[in-house]
Each structure stands twice: as C-alpha cells, then as structure tokens.
Symmetry: C2
C-alpha cells in the first residue's frame, strides 16, 4: 500500500450547505455530479457526501458515524495567520473549540468544529516549514 | 484558506499497536518524538495520537470522538489491486465492511475498518486516472 490518501470523505447532513461552508473559507469546488461536492486539494480530493448514503455504502448504522477521532490540520506559513483563519471559520458557522495560541511544542494552533462536526486544526509549526507549493511533511522541507 | 490538508490525525487507543497495523500494510514511519507516530504521505502527513490526549487538545470529552463520518480512500491503479489490499488489511487485524466489488458508478471498491475504528476505502476509479506519482484529483489526470 503506497503512502497516500486519495480522497477524504466527510459525511454531512446537507451536501450543499456544507459546501457553502467550505466556499466561505475560500475553496472552489470541482465539477461533480449531483449529490456529491468535491474540492481538489494537493494530490488528493476532499468530498462531501450525505451521512445516510455514506452509512449505506459502509454497511453501518448512521448512528455509528461519529466525528472527532479523525481530525484534519491545515498548516499555515506564519503564526499570525492562525487567528484570522479561525475567525473566518467562526464567521462561516464553525464553533471554536480552542482559540489560537501557543502550544507546548513551540507552535501556534487553534481548533474549530465545522457545522457538521468535523474538526479542523489551524496550525503553524516553526519546525516543519511548508514547501513553496504548500506541501507538508513531518520533519519539514 | 488554501485547498490542502497538511496533517490527518487518527485518534487511537495505543499508538504503537496502531502504527504496527499501518506498517503491516507496508508503510514506513518518519522520525518522531515519543507518543506520536507519523507517516509521510504525498504532500501531507498521517499522524497517530492517543484518543485521550487528542480529546484534551480538543477540549472535548473522549466519548465525543467517534469515527466513521470521515473516511479515507486509497485509490489504486488497477481494479485487480482492490481485493488483495483488503485481504492484507484483514490479515493485519482490520474488519472488512464491504468486500471488493463493482459499484454503480463503474468503479471497484471495498471498505475496511482498522482495529481503531477508522474507515478506509480501497478504490479503483476508471474515470479518475492517478498521476504517474499516484496523485489523485476528482476528474483525473
């Protein structure tokens, strides 16, 4: 199994409402058939799909589809970018779980929870510089 | 907010046990401090972190950290790769939620659930060819 994730799928109540949340953060959707919204990321895609259809696909009850034990981080180039991005998410309907601030390992982070419950970290890590294109790897570029 | 995910964090019971699951699938970990295991992917990293520490970071009760409403897909180049990869995951301790088989949109998919509850899709999509390096985008390369 190669070390890559092709698609991150978020199960949501209402695909269109959820898409608008990500559009308010500045994202642009790819062309897509009805019932699914896709945002192309770096080397992968993030898709929005209704929870009931996802549960059916997975052969699991919809109640089993929780959130939180998998989080997504978006790393920024400067510590000063963390707070404004959290504010933008809050303005778009997210709940701030943890405001922007320093963390013990030397970075600056904050967490928001999207209206559908998915958890995003906005982070600046001074020890893991992003590539010029924005790519991340554990020990930096 | 640029369209990229830097880090996918999986909350797990036991970081070392979980790391061994992904190593059995063929992955190699990056150098990392104690308490966290990191696998560098394409343009991003997948990290393993204990559920209790993740809950503390998020200011959420550990019971709120469910799985399933966010799934990860790993796309392969040929339909014939789906079943063997699911078998390999099963041998490493995963539960098969849906065996390899054709899906209505023309692809071949299957789902497994890791010992920690995270859900992975193994997929071949004949309409979304991977780049030579394995990168995915919604409408193909």
């Amino acid at each position: 199994m190669e070390q890559r994730v092709s698609l991150i799928t978020l199960g949501v109540q209402d695909v269109e409402a959820s898409a608008q949340f990500y559009e308010q953060l500045g994202w642009t959707r790819a062309e897509s058939p009805d019932g699914v919204v896709a945002f192309d990321l770096m080397s992968q895609t993030l898709g929005l799909y209704t929870l009931d259809k996802l549960a059916e696909d997975l052969n699991l009850p919809i109640e089993a589809l929780g959130t939180g034990a998998m989080t997504l981080s978006h790393n920024v180039r400067d510590a000063e970018e963390v707070a404004p991005l959290l504010a933008r998410a809050e303005a778009a309907g997210a709940a701030i779980l943890r405001p922007a601030g320093p963390v013990f390992w030397g970075g600056t982070i904050g967490y928001f929870q999207s209206p559908d419950g998915h958890i995003w970290e906005i982070a600046h890590n001074p020890y893991s510089a992003l590539s010029p294109e924005g790519a991340f790897r554990w020990n930096g570029y």
